[in-house]
């Protein structure tokens, strides 16, 4: 059980947040930390645990966001149904990208995922008749839980917390289960895993499809929370990089890492936006400069991420096993 202590502390603090804090700005920060942490965790399932680095995960995020928004605005259906539809569509897209991953490695796979997200961006921004084109879709606010029209930010905190815990558990499953060990074997040396009788290809495809579906769920909830879907945001390469960045800073292939990474980058972004948001819009780019530099520095100097680094540090202090 000691292994779960850091996670219990993290999610416990998040759960106490709405009790202790009433400030809408801080609650918004907490919601976004949990949401981006969940999205980074979903990326981590493919990028960290299966070793399939994607920079097109916004394809799935956008599919989720658009499904929820379009089903609501066009057919007056519940965003929960939209969430489901988005997850199904993303699973299909994930299966096809997963199939590609068996033929392509490294940079080739990355390029294929970028291409997928860009195709969807163009479709979403040009198909005016259906998606409202480049103006984006305002998501109507329809009060009620079934329609996800929730004004109270505290409820959102618990919704996102549920999502975050779900993703944490999925990742823990990948660390502890037989399937997870097999996946790790595939990631480290696919040929060796194959020769031991591991169904490497099928495992990789399933991991990517699951990662895609979970990312779509995050996208659907994000669209309902923010209330506006902009194709150039939900399908941007920058957003894909952000998922990856949170997971890498936190620790690739660790369950709590993406959440720690999300705490860091979401806090930094919210702070800098608040500081520079009004003064000449260009200055908002400062946090992205920091992202870029952080990415270069982390992969070079701390490739194991925060979780690995903290784990080492704790071990050296003779507290083995408390972290990780």
């Amino acid at each position: 059980m000691r292994r779960e202590v850091p996670a219990l502390v993290f999610f416990g603090v998040a759960a106490l947040g709405p009790v202790a804090v009433r400030d809408a700005f801080l609650l918004d920060g907490l919601i976004l930390i949990l949401l981006w942490g969940a999205a980074a965790s979903a990326w981590n399932v493919a990028g960290g645990y299966a070793g399939q680095i994607s920079l097109g995960h916004t394809a799935f995020f956008g599919l989720g966001a658009y499904s929820a928004a379009l089903l609501g605005t066009r057919w007056d259906l519940s965003p929960w149904l939209g969430l489901l539809v988005g997850a199904v569509l993303s699973t299909i897209a994930g299966l096809s990208i997963g199939y590609l991953s068996n033929r392509l490695r490294g940079p080739y796979f990355v390029l294929a995922t970028i291409a997928l997200s860009q195709v969807l961006l163009i479709v979403a921004s040009r198909w005016r008749g259906f998606t409202a084109g480049s103006e984006g879709i305002p998501v109507p606010f329809r009060p009620g839980f079934w329609t996800l029209g929730i004004a109270d930010k505290r409820v959102w905190v618990y919704l996102m917390l549920g999502l975050a815990v779900l993703l944490y558990l999925v990742q823990r499953y990948l660390e502890r289960s037989r399937r997870g060990y097999q996946l790790a074997a595939v990631r480290e040396d696919e040929d060796a895993a194959l020769s031991l009788g591991v169904a490497a290809r099928r495992l990789k495809v399933i991991a990517i499809a699951a990662s895609a579906a979970l990312t779509a769920v995050c996208g659907a909830l994000w669209a309902q929370y923010v209330g506006f879907v902009d194709p150039f945001y939900v399908f941007s390469v920058d957003l894909s990089v952000r998922f990856a960045l949170a997971a890498i800073i936190g620790g690739l292939g660790t369950a709590l890492g993406p959440f720690l990474g999300s705490v860091l980058i979401t806090t930094l972004e919210t702070y800098l936006r608040a500081q520079f948001g009004g003064v000449g819009a260009g200055l908002v780019g400062i946090y992205l400069i920091i992202y870029g530099c952080a990415l270069v520095l982390v992969v070079r100097f701390v490739p194991q991420g925060l979780v690995g680094w903290l784990g080492d540090w704790l071990r050296r202090r003779g507290l083995a096993g408390a972290a990780q």
Binding site: G51, I53, L55, L100, R103, L104, R105, G106, P107, Y108, V110, L111, A112, I114, A115, L116, Q118, V119, I122, V123, R126, V237, D238, V241, A244, I248, G280, A281, G282, L283, V284, G285, I286, L288, I289, Y291, G292, C293, A294, L295, V296, V299, R300, P303
Partner: protein
């Protein structure tokens, strides 16, 4: 937009060749870096953007014509290439693919946003006196800046080919591309080869950026548009294959030109991205690459 007709064919052909020449210059730099260093440069588009801004500011503040700027851009980008290699690429040159991918992605984000912070997100354009001069030849018409860009791009690409083919340094670079360990054993200083390769690749895109400045608007994320094309081109031609990149450029330009003519400009990007995914599915090593090249480690 006129309905598709046979009389448009000469014009489409000329447009394809002009566009293909410029794409080739961007793609050759990318494929050279991949061929020798085995690194896909995800920050490639940002150097196109920097080239375009360099031309824009030189034109706005100093009144320098973009074609004069070319001679200044050459050493500027060579030094920028050496510096970015030393600072960013050199420490990860023997690291895993994933580390290299994220290093260049990080470089890309940082450069994009440095441009955003310094120069805002405004769309800017180099409006030379001759920007609207149109040359007519038979039934075809084309912009004079397009021809100039094409001519310089072709000359530059040809010079690079000659350099790789006949110069001693070019031979050393090709040897390193073939087998970096053997090259090292033969006494080749691979670190210097990588630095030079990276710098030459950056010069290619920087020059391409300067050439594009009188033709396209410049803004901080303009690079993505060109680099996506370059990815399609180099995968089509086989990553690392310079002659393939030139042919790939012509194919992609043809898809773009004919596509915009037949179905309109709004959807042309979808066409080459679908072409890209189709190539990856059917023949990921590229049209001329060796089968299985995409599965190579380092």
């Amino acid at each position: 937009m006129p309905s598709p007709s046979v009389s448009a064919i000469p014009q489409l052909l000329v447009s394809t060749i002009l566009l293909g020449g410029i794409y080739a210059l961007i793609a050759v730099g990318l494929t050279l870096i991949f061929g020798v260093m085995r690194v896909v440069n995800f920050a490639h588009g940002e150097f196109v953007m920097l080239g375009m801004y360099l031309a824009f500011w030189a034109f706005t503040f100093l009144g320098l014509d973009p074609y004069v700027m070319l001679f200044i851009a050459l050493p500027v980008f060579f030094v920028a290439g050496l510096a970015s290699y030393r600072l960013v690429m050199r420490p990860v040159i023997h690291a895993s693919h994933n580390v290299q991918i994220f290093t260049t992605v990080g470089l890309s984000i940082a450069l994009q946003n440095v441009a955003l912070v310094l120069w805002t997100g405004d769309f800017r354009f180099v409006r030379t006196e001759y920007y609207s001069v149109v040359v007519r030849l038979g039934t075809t018409a084309f912009n004079i800046s397009q021809i100039a860009a094409f001519a310089v791009a072709v000359a530059f690409t040809a010079a690079l080919f000659a350099f790789m083919r006949w110069s001693y340094t070019g031979r050393v670079m090709r040897a390193t591309a073939q087998d970096r360990q053997a090259a090292g054993l033969m006494g080749i200083d691979t670190d210097r080869v990588y630095a030079l390769t990276w710098a030459i690749g950056i010069v290619c895109v920087g020059v391409a950026g300067v050439l594009l400045a009188p033709l396209y608007q410049v803004y901080p994320t303009v690079g993505l548009q060109f680099v996506l094309i370059a990815y399609v081109v180099v995968v089509l031609g086989g990553l690392g294959d310079m002659a393939g990149a030139v042919l790939g450029s012509l194919i992609v330009a043809a898809v773009e030109v004919v596509g915009s003519y037949v179905i309109g400009t709004a959807w042309k990007e979808v066409l080459y991205l679908l072409l890209f995914i189709a190539i990856l599915l059917v023949r990921p090593a590229g049209l001329f690459g060796q089968r299985g090249a995409e599965q190579l480690g380092t």
